[in-house]
């Protein structure tokens, strides 16, 4: 599939009318010359060498003629040289244009400019055949005058159309400029392309150019074609057309109708894409909240304990993940890409251990006193934050593995960030894990029994104290997993947990204490709600609105979506 664009662009360049006949031959020769630097100069190169020599002339007319000559060559190989000329990175050496390439680090030389032949792209070689470098910019650089830069830009864009590499961006740039000259090339290209991702792109480009350059029925056809492609890029031009259209003129009636139709089609597609985007980022926002709230909810439901240090357990997980990434970078750089796999158990265990200690040292002594637990765990959170700050300092970040950066293109104009996709999947896996543990293991069975009726469970021989400790550690571990996900999209700092704690509590309260399904539903609803309100309100006010909605909701259902029944209801 990746070859297709190159194939098509090769076809496009083959079809150019500017140098119709010999371009194919030139292309093949160009390929040869890249492979064999010593090959004799082709005609384009010799013309270009002469033209660049003329660019050194102080005479403006002479320079203009030279630029025109270069444009007429229609050879994409001239693009780097022209760009260098525009930026003042080009100079003549022995009559040939030489390019100062972008700075690179070379052993023994530091940061230097490699010198390359502007036309062939080969490194310039010294007498002994080694590549030459310099640490200074050319003093005699050929530099485009400001007035010439615009012309050069146009020439470059025109040449790029025949360049197989930049592919679609070349077509788009032609369309953006509304370059009528390129229309025949584009049409021919389209005629030769039967199918593939470039067909809609070419249709769109042709229609966009025609939108600017044609009249009457051709114009209407172009507008309809744009509506057909539903490309967002055409929207500004179409809207501009509609704005300037004299609607009172009956002759424009058909035009107005097709404009409105095309705009509507494009806009409705954009609305759909936007909604999908909102749903996605809302789910991804909610999934972090789910992970935070799951642990809170289990602990709250089981023990009636308000754990204000839950956010700090998340922070512990985040720092564990950060530590693992640093350890991998230091000792196993080759495996760095896969550090997350080791970080998952590390984050879980680190947070679970801290949680288990908190339970054993403090919370165990405070059962039946939820308000006191709230204060004590807040004290713990202060100590944890300060301890981490003293040990690691403020604000850390870690590079996520390369496979988690970038985005996943779903369609031509719609892409999802990979890290968010990963977080969503990770959260789903964690939820499945929690469900399995609670529903399918012995620990889960004892946990549910203790939650439902502590005395009865104890009477039947369940060691409720042990269950409490394990449950607390398990809830803490889930928070640690939530922390693992955070460094993938944000910096981490010791007080990061406090930003999540209030919202997590709201999720728990809204969902119904100790109810996993309620937690998941309310967290995702909150996440989605936030993303759908955000376009109208700022992010900050969105949260304010959501908290208001939750408070209002609790008026209606004081015990949340799924109220607890029986003894738990009396916490």
């Amino acid at each position: 599939m990746r070859i297709l664009p190159f194939l098509l662009l090769a076809l496009l360049s083959a079809a150019t009318t500017v140098c119709a006949e010999d371009s194919r031959a030139e292309d093949s020769r160009a390929d040869d010359s890249r492979a064999e630097p010593s090959q004799a100069e082709d005609s384009v190169t010799s013309v270009a060498v002469a033209a660049f020599a003329r660019l050194a002339s102080p005479d403006a007319d002479e320079r203009e003629a030279a630029i025109r000559t270069l444009a007429e060559q229609g050879d994409a190989r001239l693009v780097p040289a022209l760009e260098g000329f525009s930026k003042g990175m080009l100079a003549l050496r022995d009559g040939r244009p030489v390019l100062w390439a972008s700075k690179t680090a070379i052993d023994g030389l530091g940061q230097v400019y490699p010198l390359i032949d502007a036309l062939t792209g080969d490194p310039l070689r010294a007498a002994d055949g080694s590549p030459s470098y310099t640490d200074a910019l050319p003093s005699d650089a050929l530099r485009a005058k400001p007035a010439e830069r615009k012309a050069i830009k146009a020439v470059i864009a025109g040449l790029q159309l025949r360049d197989p590499d930049p592919g679609r961006s070349a077509i788009l740039s032609v369309a953006d400029r509304g370059d009528v000259e390129s229309l025949p090339a584009l049409r021919e290209q389209l005629a030769q392309t039967i199918e593939g991702p470039f067909v809609p792109l070419l249709r769109e480009a042709i229609a966009r150019i025609e939108l600017q350059s044609t009249q009457g029925s051709e114009l209407i056809a172009a507008i309809d074609a744009l509506g057909e492609t539903r490309a967002a890029r055409a929207l500004p031009a179409l809207q501009e057309r509609r704005r300037t259209l004299d609607a009172a003129d009956p002759a424009n009636a058909a035009l107005a109708v097709s404009l409105a139709f095309a705009i509507e089609r494009i806009e409705s597609r954009q609305a759909v894409l936007r909604s999908i985007g909102h749903v996605f980022s809302g789910l991804s926002l909610g999934s972090i909240l789910v992970l935070m709230a799951l642990g809170l909810s289990i602990v709250f439901g089981l023990m009636g304990v308000i754990n204000m240090a839950h956010g700090e357990l998340m922070m512990v997980g985040a720092y564990a993940s950060w530590g693992v990434s640093k350890a991998f970078a230091a000792w196993m750089p080759g495996l760095f890409e896969w550090y997350l796999i080791a970080a998952i158990p590390a984050a879980f265990l680190a947070a679970a251990l801290v949680g288990w200690l908190i339970e054993a040292l403090v919370i165990r002594h405070l059962y039946g006193r939820p308000l006191e637990t709230l204060l004590a765990t807040w004290g713990i959170s202060l100590v944890l934050v300060q301890a981490v700050r003293a040990a690691f300092g403020d604000l850390m970040s870690t590079a996520p593995p390369a496979w988690l950066t970038g985005s996943l293109a779903i369609t031509e104009d719609f892409a999802l960030p990979v890290n968010r996709v990963f977080i969503l999947g990770f959260a789903a896996a964690c939820i499945a894990l929690v469900w399995l543990v609670v529903r399918r293991t012995r620990l889960g069975l004892l946990l549910r029994a203790t939650t439902q009726n502590r005395q009865m469970a104890a009477a039947l021989g369940v060691s409720t104290r042990r269950i409490d400790g394990l449950t607390f550690a398990f809830g803490a571990g889930i928070a640690g997993l939530a922390g693992l996900a955070v460094p993938l999209y944000d910096k981490i700092n010791p007080s990061m947990g406090q930003g999540y704690i209030v919202e997590s509590f709201m999720v728990v309260v809204t969902g119904g204490v100790g109810n996993l399904a309620g937690v998941i539903i309310s967290a995702l609803t909150l996440g989605l709600g936030a993303k759908f309100i955000e376009p109208w309100l700022e992010a900050v006010f969105t949260k304010v609105v959501l908290l208001g909605v939750i408070i209002a909701f609790l008026q209606w259902r004081p015990s949340g979506l799924f109220p607890a029944k029986g003894r738990l209801a009396d916490v």
């Binding site: 006191e372 204060l375 004590a376 807040w378 301890a387 006010f541 908290l547």
Partner: protein, 443 residues
């Protein structure tokens, strides 16, 4: 939860303390001398120049916190509702007076290049005072609004919450959510309230010139004494009894034909009023009011003042607020990195080991006095006395230079060693005496 809660909160004496009780005499004497120190001694010393104006200013600010603490004691200590949004009411009061002080009429630092309105409007591209700011150009309006708005917000919010029988930890969580929402809103500069920086650039002499500082201090001290008197009166009334009943067994109260909702809404509003009054007095002395004054941890810190002092007793809230804040002031200047640990330890200690706070220490001592064990009582009260002396010296800024010198170990100033010794020595002595008594009894 109600049974457990009852055992934790210091018992309020069911009947007035008998006249002949020595501890009552001491308590009365301490109360009156505290009032005299606040209203007469400190202003006199300050006027004579024996206390630095900055120390007076600090005392004034911490006394403003005392007002908040009294409100928290009413709602948490007496009524058993842990509100985590008192700093919000404090800030609403503070913002109201801050708005007045930022305007040209309030003597704010406004300049022609900023169209004679507070400078931060510059970032909003606003060139005239917004409509909702205009009433606040009048001091009486600002004061009335600063007290009425928070009280009304508390009444409305409280009515909504209590009506749907949200109780216990749910109440705490929802108040915290309210505080969080308000914090987010005030942080946003589109609210036209100064955004993250809050309101500042007030009338300069307020916290720079001695007469202003002493005047504001005196106003705050009078407010504290008045609020204390009011709270004492309130908890002694029938309403006060009902509030304690709400804390101890709300269901039984309801079965007895009372409407807890009305009482809860009432006490929530009173607490909000006191907090707002505190904010109103705090802001001019502090010179700035901003969202940082209502951050999530600040709400909980305010609760811990009362926990340290002792819940369910008014003087506990007063002493707790002053003690924690002066400790904070001393330690953040001497040992800034250590303070969060100390604060965290305080949270844990007060919950795990001293649920009655400083009040509990005094109660123990009073019981010993009633039993006629004067020596043991003196040993029991000594740590409290040592702490009070240390706080007083800190408040007045009278630490001798010799005690401020850092020790070679960890750079801790000598004074902390003295304080720790002053507190632990009587505790150890008392424990030894108890042991001796026990051994004697056994033999």
């Amino acid at each position: 939860m109600s049974e457990a809660g009852a055992s934790l909160v210091g018992e309020v004496p069911a009947e007035p303390i008998r006249r002949g009780d020595p501890s009552a005499t001491i308590a009365r004497a301490a109360a009156w001398s505290a009032v005299a120190i606040l209203l007469v001694v400190v202003p006199t010393l300050a006027a004579l120049g024996l206390i630095e104006p900055s120390s007076v200013n600090r005392m004034g600010r911490y006394l403003a916190y005392v007002l908040v603490a009294l409100g928290i004691d009413l709602i948490w200590g007496y009524t058993g509702l842990l509100s985590l949004c008192q700093a919000l009411f404090f800030c609403l009061g503070g913002y109201a007076i801050g708005m007045f002080l930022s305007t040209a009429q309030g003597g704010g630092d406004v300049r022609p290049e900023y169209h004679d309105i507070p400078q931060f409007f510059f970032y909003n591209d606003i060139t005239a005072l917004p409509a909702f700011w205009r009433p606040f150009t009048s001091l009486p309006v600002a004061i009335v609004a600063g007290l009425a708005v928070p009280t009304a917000v508390a009444a409305l919010f409280g009515w909504m919450i209590f009506r749907s029988r949200v109780r216990g930890v749910y109440f705490s969580i929802i108040t915290q959510a309210l505080a969080w929402a308000a914090l987010l809103a005030f942080t946003n500069h589109h609210l036209l309230m100064g955004g993250t920086n809050g309101l500042s650039n007030f009338f300069r002499p307020l916290n720079n010139d001695r007469p202003w500082i002493i005047g504001l201090y005196l106003a705050t001290a009078v407010a504290v004494v008045a609020a204390w008197g009011f709270c004492r009166w309130l908890v002694g009334t029938r309403t006060g009894r009902v509030l304690i009943a709400v804390r101890d067994n709300e269901s039984r109260l309801r079965f007895a034909g009372f409407q807890p909702v009305a009482y809860k809404v009432f006490i929530f509003s009173v607490a909000a009023f006191l907090a707002a009054l505190g904010g109103l007095l705090y802001t001019p002395q502090n010179g700035v009011i901003g969202p940082s004054n209502m951050s999530i941890d600040w709400h909980i810190t305010m609760v811990i003042w009362v926990a340290v002092g002792g819940r369910g007793r008014l003087w506990g809230a007063i002493v707790g607020a002053l003690a924690v804040n002066f400790a904070y002031a001393a330690m953040t200047s001497d040992l800034p990195a250590v303070w969060p640990f100390v604060q965290g330890a305080m949270f844990l200690a007060v919950v795990l080991f001293f649920p009655d706070g400083l009040v509990g220490v005094w109660d123990r001592c009073a019981a010993l006095l009633r039993d006629g064990r004067t020596t043991r009582a003196a040993l029991a009260i000594a740590p409290l006395a040592a702490l009070s002396v240390a706080l007083a010296i800190e408040a007045l800024g009278w630490w001798p230079a010799a005690l401020q010198r850092p020790l070679p170990v960890l750079g801790i100033p000598l004074k902390y060693l003295v304080i720790v010794l002053g507190i632990t020595a009587p505790v150890v002595a008392g424990w030894l005496q108890d042991r001796a008594v026990r051994v004697e009894a056994a033999s």
